[in-house]
C-alpha cells in the first residue's frame, strides 16, 4: 500500500520520505529547514503545530533553533515559510492525507505557509475513502481536512500551476515509529 500511496502522492506533486524512527525523521526535517533557508526573519520562519510526534520529545534544544517556533497564531503562520504538522491518515488510492483539523492551528500551518511538512504514522495508510469513512466522525470533528498534493490551479489557459493560496510544496514524512493501525 505504501508503494501505491507513493505513486499517487508523487503523481500529484507531493515529495515523499520515510524514516524508521522519530529521531531520523527529526534529523531530516531540521536539515531540510536549514537547507531551505529557515531563519528568524519574516518569511523565513517555521511553525510547528501540536503533533503527537512531539510528545515526549526533548524540546529544549528545538526551541533554541532560530526561526523555529511552536507558538502558532495567524500572525506567526502568515509570516512563516514552513509549516509542520502531523496528519493522521494517508489514502493509497488518491495519495491524500486526512486529519481532524478542528484545532485552528492545524489549518494555519498547513494553509498559510509556503511549504507544508506533514508527518504521518506509516501504519496509517488506508486503501481509500471507504476505509477512511468508518474512522472519521463529523460528530466529533468540526473540520475534517483532506490534503492531496500542493495547492494548484489551471485557471489561466488550463495550464497547471502549483501554489496559489496554499503551500506550493508538500513534504510527506512517514515515520514507522509513530505506529498506526496496521503497524
Amino acid at each position: 500500500m505504501f508503494e501505491q500511496f507513493k505513486a499517487k502522492a508523487t503523481g500529484v506533486g507531493a515529495e515523499l520520505h520515510r524514516f524508521p524512527t522519530r529521531s531520523d525523521a527529526l534529523d531530516f526535517i531540521l536539515q531540510f529547514l536549514e537547507r531551505e533557508g529557515m531563519a528568524d526573519a519574516p518569511g523565513s520562519r517555521a511553525v510547528w503545530a501540536k503533533s503527537p510526534f512531539l510528545e515526549g520529545l526533548e524540546r529544549r534544544d528545538l526551541r533554541e533553533i532560530p526561526g523555529l517556533s511552536f507558538e502558532v497564531s495567524r500572525q506567526s503562520a502568515a509570516q512563516a515559510k514552513f509549516g509542520i504538522s502531523q496528519m493522521e491518515w494517508a489514502l493509497a488510492d488518491t495519495g491524500s492525507l486526512v486529519q481532524d483539523q478542528s484545532e485552528v492551528e492545524q489549518r494555519l500551518v498547513s494553509s498559510l505557509t509556503g511549504i507544508h511538512i506533514a508527518l504521518v504514522p506509516s501504519g496509517n495508510i488506508l486503501d481509500g475513502k471507504s476505509a477512511l469513512f468508518s474512522r472519521i466522525n463529523p460528530h466529533t470533528s468540526s473540520y475534517i481536512a483532506f490534503i492531496t498534493g500542493p495547492s494548484r490551479t489551471a485557471d489561466i489557459e488550463r495550464v497547471l500551476t502549483i501554489g496559489v493560496h496554499g503551500p506550493d510544496r508538500l513534504l510527506i514524512v512517514f515515520v514507522d515509529e509513530l505506529g498506526g493501525e496496521t503497524a
Binding site: 492531496t148 489557459e157 501554489g163
Partner: protein, 711 residues
C-alpha cells in the same frame, strides 16, 4: 431566433482564441477523464450518486429540516428561503450587524445565481473573489463562462493586462508569475476580511455537515481566517446520509478536472473556534429558488441530481465551439440551459435551448445521471405549448401529418438529377433539404423513391419476414440504401415487406417541440408496421430506429394517448437497427461475405443516436472487417457530424465548423472511404466532401456490405 443571439454565436465561432482553447481543452479532457476513472465502475458509481441525490430530492423539505436541526444543534445558524432576494438581504443584515467591511469569497455558483457581489458592493461592502478564475472575471467585470473554470474563455495576454492594471506594474504572460501576483494581492485580503462566503458542494442532513472541494486552498482560508463564515448552498446539494459523501467525492474531481481528488476537501460540521479562541459564527443558507418546484416536476426532478461538475460542458460539441457566454450570464452549456429555464424563466431559454444538437455526449458522462437532451426537448415542447408554433412550422407539420399530401409533395419535387431547390415552402420540409448549402452540397431527390422501386424488386419466398421502415431520407433521397438492405436480408433468408402507408417517424416534429404532430406520426406508423405480423421491424436510419424503439411510447404518453402504449411496446420489441440484425445473422451463419480480399482502408463514423442511444458501435465495425476492409479509426470517431436534423439549417454557423473538423478527422486517417449507419450523416458528410472537392467516398454501411455478398 433573435438577431443579437445569432450575432453572439457568430462572434463566438469566429473568435479563434476561444474556439482554439476550448477545442484543445475538450479533446484533452476526454483522454484525461478516461484515465482518471481507470479501475472504477462508473455506471455503479453514478447510480449510487443518482440514487442518493434523487432520494433527497423526493422530500427536500424534510431533508432540509433534518439538516437544519442538526446544524443548529451544533451552533450554526441555518436560514432557509425560496427567494433569492431574501438571501441577499439576510447576508447584508448579518454584515451590517457585525460591522463587516470586507468579504472574501471562494467560488460559489449559487452566489453567481443571485448576483450577490454587485449587491454587496452597492451596499458599501468590499468583496474579493479569491478563486483565481473568479478573481480574473471579477477584475474583468464579466461573468463565468464555465461552472468549474470560470475564466476559460480568457487568454494569458488578457489576464496579464488585467493584473498589470491592478498592481500597476507591467507584467508578462508568464503564468506562474501571474499566479504569484494573485497570491500576493489576495493574501492581505484574506487576513483583513471580516466575513468569508463560500458555497458548498455537498450538505449532509444527518450530520449537518457541509463539504467544500477546491484546488487552490482559498476555501480553507475563507473558512478559517474571518470570524464569520456564510455558506450559501442550493438545496439540491443536500444528501441524507454521510456515507453519500464518498461516492460524490469519487466522481466530482474526476469528472470536473480529471483529478483523482482535488488538492483540498474540507468537511465542516458546525462552527469551530477562531484563531483567537472566540467562537466562529457559521451561517448556512439553504436556498431554494425554484428547486422545490423543479423537484415536483416529474420531467425535471432529475436535474437535482446534478453535482455541478461541468463535464457536460467539456464534452459538448456546441460548447466547445461557442463557449459559455452565448448561453447567458450564470449557468452555461446544456445543464445551464435547463437551470436558466427554471431559475430565470422558461422564456429566457427560448434561444439557447436551440443550441443543443441532441448528440447525447453529455448524458453519457454525467455523474448525476441527468438526461440533459431529454430535458431540453421537454423545454422545447413546453415553449411550443406556451407560444404555439410559428406559422411556417404549423404549415410544415400540417403536411407531415397528412402522409398522402406529404409524399405527394416530395414526389413532385423529385426531378431527376436536379438539386432540390424549389420554393420557399418546400425547402422547409422536415426532410431537411435546404438551399442553405453552407459548406455542404445537398442530395438530389431520387428520381425514383424507394417506395416506387420496391415493388419491382424480386424477392425469394422466405420463412421469416421483416418489415422495412425506411424513413424519409432513405425513401426519397437514398433509395439505394434500401435496395442494399433488401438484398442483404434476402440473402439471409428473410423476406422484406414495405408497407406503403408508413410515414415520417416524427423525429423532426419532436425535435421541434411539436409533440402532437409527432404523436400522430407515431400512431400511424405503429398501426401499419404491426399489421404485417413480421418478426422484425428493421431500419437503416438510427434516428428512425430510436423513434420506433424508444420515442413512440414516450411521445404518445406525453400527449395522453395511453391506449397506444401496449402497441408501442410491441413495436419497440420488434425494432432493430440493420447492423445489429446483420451481425446476428452473420454469427448464426446465415449470412457471409465473399472470400477475403484486401479492400484497403476504411474509417467509420459513429452516429450519435446509434452509438449513444442504441449503444451500437462494434457491430458495423466487425461486419466491415469481415467484408474485407481494414479499419483505420479516426480521431473522435463518435463526435457529432453537425447534422442534427434541421439543426444544420437553423444554426449553419455552428453546424459548418463541426462538419469541417469531422471531415479533417476523416482525412487524417488516410482512408479513401468512410462508412456510417445513418443517412442523415451521409447527407451531411458526403455534402461536405462534395463541396470541398475531395475524393473521400462516403457510404452507408449497408451498401458496402451488400457489394460483398457471395453471389
Amino acid at each position: 431566433m433573435k438577431k443579437e443571439f445569432k450575432a453572439a454565436i457568430n462572434r463566438a465561432v469566429n473568435d479563434a482564441n476561444l474556439t482554439g482553447a476550448l477545442g484543445k481543452f475538450s479533446e484533452a479532457y476526454k483522454v484525461n477523464r478516461t484515465k482518471a476513472y481507470e479501475g472504477i465502475d462508473f455506471e455503479a458509481l453514478r447510480s449510487r450518486i443518482a440514487e442518493a441525490k434523487s432520494a433527497a430530492a423526493c422530500h427536500l423539505d424534510e431533508v432540509a429540516d433534518v439538516f437544519q436541526k442538526k446544524a443548529e444543534a451544533l451552533g450554526a445558524k441555518v436560514y432557509r428561503t425560496r427567494d433569492p432576494q431574501e438571501v441577499k438581504e439576510y447576508i447584508l443584515r448579518v454584515a451590517r450587524e457585525r460591522g463587516v467591511k470586507s468579504v472574501v469569497k471562494s467560488k460559489s455558483m449559487a452566489t453567481e445565481e443571485i448576483h450577490l457581489n454587485p449587491f454587496l458592493e452597492k451596499n458599501g461592502i468590499k468583496v474579493a473573489e479569491t478563486d483565481l478564475g473568479e478573481w480574473i472575471i471579477q477584475l474583468a467585470g464579466t461573468t463565468p463562462s464555465h461552472m468549474v473554470m470560470p475564466a476559460i474563455h480568457m487568454t494569458k495576454e488578457e489576464v496579464a493586462e488585467l493584473f498589470s492594471k491592478e498592481i500597476d506594474e507591467r507584467l508578462t504572460t508568464d503564468i506562474p508569475r501571474l499566479v504569484k501576483v494573485a497570491r500576493n494581492e489576495l493574501r492581505p485580503r484574506f487576513l483583513e476580511a471580516d466575513m468569508g462566503i463560500t458555497g458548498g458542494n455537498i450538505a449532509v442532513a444527518e450530520t449537518g455537515s457541509i463539504v467544500l472541494v477546491t484546488n487552490e486552498g482559498n476555501a480553507r482560508l475563507v473558512t478559517t481566517l474571518p470570524e464569520i463564515h456564510i455558506a450559501l448552498i442550493g438545496v439540491e446539494k443536500l444528501v441524507e446520509k454521510f456515507e453519500s459523501v464518498a461516492p460524490i467525492l469519487d466522481a466530482l474531481p474526476r469528472s470536473a478536472t480529471a483529478q483523482l481528488l482535488t488538492s483540498y476537501v474540507s468537511i465542516i460540521t458546525g462552527p469551530g473556534l477562531n484563531d483567537d479562541g472566540s467562537q466562529k459564527e457559521l451561517h448556512i443558507i439553504l436556498m431554494d429558488n425554484r428547486r422545490t418546484e423543479m423537484a415536483a416536476d416529474p420531467k425535471f426532478k432529475q436535474a437535482l441530481q446534478c453535482i455541478r461538475c461541468g463535464s457536460c460542458l467539456n464534452v459538448c460539441p456546441i460548447f466547445r465551439l461557442v463557449g459559455g457566454h452565448v448561453f447567458g450570464a450564470v449557468y452555461t452549456g446544456g445543464i445551464g440551459t435547463i437551470l436558466t429555464a427554471w431559475f430565470d424563466e422558461l422564456q429566457k431559454s427560448e434561444d439557447i435551448q436551440g443550441l443543443c444538437i441532441q448528440c447525447g455526449n453529455c448524458k453519457e458522462v454525467c455523474p448525476g445521471k441527468l438526461d440533459i437532451p431529454e430535458m431540453i426537448m421537454e423545454i422545447r415542447r413546453r415553449l411550443v405549448q406556451n407560444k404555439g408554433q410559428s406559422l411556417v412550422q404549423k404549415a410544415i407539420f400540417g403536411v407531415v401529418n397528412n402522409r398522402k399530401l406529404f409524399h405527394g409533395m416530395l414526389r413532385a419535387a423529385s426531378v431527376a438529377g436536379k438539386p432540390f431547390t424549389s420554393g420557399k415552402f418546400i425547402r422547409h420540409l422536415p426532410l431537411f433539404l435546404s438551399e442553405l448549402t453552407n459548406g455542404r452540397s445537398l442530395p438530389a431527390i431520387a428520381a425514383e423513391p424507394f417506395r416506387d422501386l420496391f415493388p419491382k424488386i424480386k424477392q425469394p419466398k422466405c420463412q421469416e419476414k421483416a418489415v422495412f421502415y425506411a424513413g424519409c431520407l432513405i425513401d426519397f433521397a437514398y433509395p439505394e440504401t434500401g435496395v442494399a438492405l433488401v438484398k442483404l436480408l434476402n440473402k439471409a433468408g428473410i423476406e422484406v415487406a414495405f408497407p406503403q402507408e408508413q410515414t415520417c417517424c416524427g423525429a423532426p416534429a419532436l425535435y421541434n417541440g411539436a409533440y402532437e404532430v409527432a404523436a400522430q406520426n407515431a400512431q400511424d406508423n405503429i398501426a401499419v408496421l404491426l399489421q404485417q405480423g413480421a418478426t422484425y421491424v428493421v431500419s437503416a436510419c438510427p434516428t428512425c430506429t430510436v423513434a420506433l424503439a424508444h420515442e413512440f411510447g414516450k411521445t404518445l404518453e406525453s400527449v395522453g394517448r395511453g391506449e397506444w402504449l401496449d402497441r408501442a411496446r410491441e413495436l419497440s420489441a420488434k425494432t432493430v437497427d440493420l447492423s445489429t440484425l446483420l451481425k446476428r445473422l452473420v454469427d448464426e451463419g446465415r449470412l457471409s461475405f465473399r472470400e477475403k480480399e484486401d479492400l484497403g482502408k476504411i474509417t467509420y463514423h459513429d452516429s450519435c443516436h446509434l452509438k449513444r442511444t442504441l449503444k451500437v458501435a462494434e457491430q458495423p465495425r466487425e461486419l466491415l472487417a469481415k467484408a474485407g476492409y481494414e479499419l483505420a479509426e479516426m480521431h473522435e470517431c463518435d463526435m457529432c457530424c453537425g447534422m442534427g436534423g434541421s439543426y444544420s439549417m437553423k444554426l449553419p454557423e455552428i453546424s459548418a465548423p463541426i462538419l469541417k473538423s469531422k471531415q479533417q478527422n476523416i482525412k487524417d486517417t488516410g482512408a479513401p472511404l468512410v462508412a456510417m449507419d445513418c443517412p442523415g450523416c451521409v447527407l451531411q458528410i458526403r455534402g461536405g466532401f462534395d463541396q470541398d472537392g475531395s475524393s473521400v467516398r462516403v457510404k452507408h454501411t449497408a451498401e458496402l456490405l451488400a457489394e460483398r455478398l457471395r453471389d
